[in-house]
Symmetry: C2
Subunit: 359 residues, 2 copies
Amino acid sequence: MKRTIYKSFVVLLSMVSLTPFLSAQSLKKQKPLVIEQQGSFAVGGTVITNPGTFDPYKPTPEGQTFHGDHAYVFYQIPVNAKKYPLIMWHGIGQFSKTWETTPDGREGFQNIFLRRGFGVYVIDQPRRGNAGRSTAPATIDPVADEQHWFGVFRVGIWPNYYDNVQFARDSETLNQYFRAMTPSIGPIDLNVTTDAASELLNKTGPAILVTHSHSGGMGWITAIKNKNVKAIVSYEPGSGFVFPEGEVPQPVESSSGALQATSVSLDDFKSLTKIPIIIYYGDNIPETLSPNAAADGWRARLIMARKWRDVVNKHGGDVTVVHLPEIGIKGNTHFPFSDLNNIEIADLMSKWLKDKKLD
Amino acid sequence: MKRTIYKSFVVLLSMVSLTPFLSAQSLKKQKPLVIEQQGSFAVGGTVITNPGTFDPYKPTPEGQTFHGDHAYVFYQIPVNAKKYPLIMWHGIGQFSKTWETTPDGREGFQNIFLRRGFGVYVIDQPRRGNAGRSTAPATIDPVADEQHWFGVFRVGIWPNYYDNVQFARDSETLNQYFRAMTPSIGPIDLNVTTDAASELLNKTGPAILVTHSHSGGMGWITAIKNKNVKAIVSYEPGSGFVFPEGEVPQPVESSSGALQATSVSLDDFKSLTKIPIIIYYGDNIPETLSPNAAADGWRARLIMARKWRDVVNKHGGDVTVVHLPEIGIKGNTHFPFSDLNNIEIADLMSKWLKDKKLD
């Protein structure tokens, strides 16, 4: 979309401080993280090779290569780590930051689950963040759309916050929140992203996938591709619910458009019945069709998630859908794992992993 | 540059393994990292604001914002950290990965200096890697140019490695090496990058900058902008040597083109005489004009670095230039800190920091 934009270069006031950044209160009581190993690597991807022979003394494009479409992974393994590590996969417009420090400066799921003894792999999916080397050309424009995302992510209805929202209301939190987005470099390609995730699982061995939003649907496909996915914890999965051929439900209407489901073969679908899966949705999702399109899309997704649960479980699966307000946990946004009550959200996940004998 | 490319999609063989990825030998002897705090944040940047008022029920571009041009920082502070943390800044085409796991799977400077008790901040400069939200539009094409960089980074003269090169010769190392690049999203803007770096130094307080290649020149400007830069360790600085007005040397000719220096006011320049600075260059830099243009550029940069050292020191500064082969350390590439002898390279840096009472 082309348009004229007014650039106001606001020099952000930095909080001058000699001490590091996580809120002092929350950290004073924490023990150090004791990390056996940490590092990073690229995984998966493809290679473009130009025909011809490269001449280093007269360099031309001939014979040169381009490695791209890999995922980038940063991992930490605590001492005495639990059997299954967690692979944390961001959602649309996001990157590994999703799981790191929260917008208001508290610890995110990366640190929380390291403290609970899990190995943690945070990924940037192919063509995103540190995995920006895309084999597809890209044109990227700075599109001012943050008030739109404020609504879609259910922080509130701009410029108002939801009354009960689990989100700090200072301006620096919102600044960090918006800067936790980063563009796709080239199209999001389901095969490219799930191939890279599957290669990662070949390297990690058996692991638990933790997905968010857009990676929810990609997580189902990854579990079909790779038996090393031992369980999935999915926060607010968006599109990409896959049903067996012949059992695809009608689209769910919403004021943000109709939500379609897609199909896979029954054989592929059955992979999803072999592992425990839990899905969480937060608060402030309309109960009936709402003119607030940004939020209404989540009503449709919650309906579709329940249809999906029923079909997977009918085929012998173990899917649970938790709508947090229904169990008394109020005010969560589209990012429950970084909301103000994220320890409570982590406790729910820990209890589920324990119940499923995965910890 | 437009051209026809032949795409050969090579599915990379993954090394199936149930154990994590750093080479087992190097890790078995290592103690765990004991981390007091770790996290991530955006710093610096600007905001684009569209005129008008946003209507959440009829969303249009009016009244929406775009936060961009920040740096992204991941930091770890070990227990009992030394006084000055290290801020590690990647070079051209690179991102924070520069300082993490080496291409052949050993520990990079991030882990090495955490083990030596330093707080470590690794950054993605604005418009790169996880700081991909650029206020400038970008067009990004997959350009096959890796054989060119193999030469510029002085791994060898494609397809041959330098005989003495401190670089592992297996194909997976080269695969990781090429995937450690990521494109710029929009132009590299010296003011944007150094403003963000300066904002970071406002947050960290006094710190030591560790730069590489293209960030070398940006490091000098950052030190002029912010008195919290207490020292600079610069690996193979490329362009961007700044001299006082009236003292700019003639360009240095090389077969990759003439290397220009630039000027700043004497007042600004004097900031660079107030802090200790050490510069390292690796091996396989031609001694005289060479038709190997990729390597010859480094001959010019080494000459310019020595001219710069002499002028800073004439004005009362403390700049040291170390050409590693001259002190008997052979085979280093453009990335000494991730080369096979990177512990020896780190030892040199540690000794210098100790000599300057910075550790």
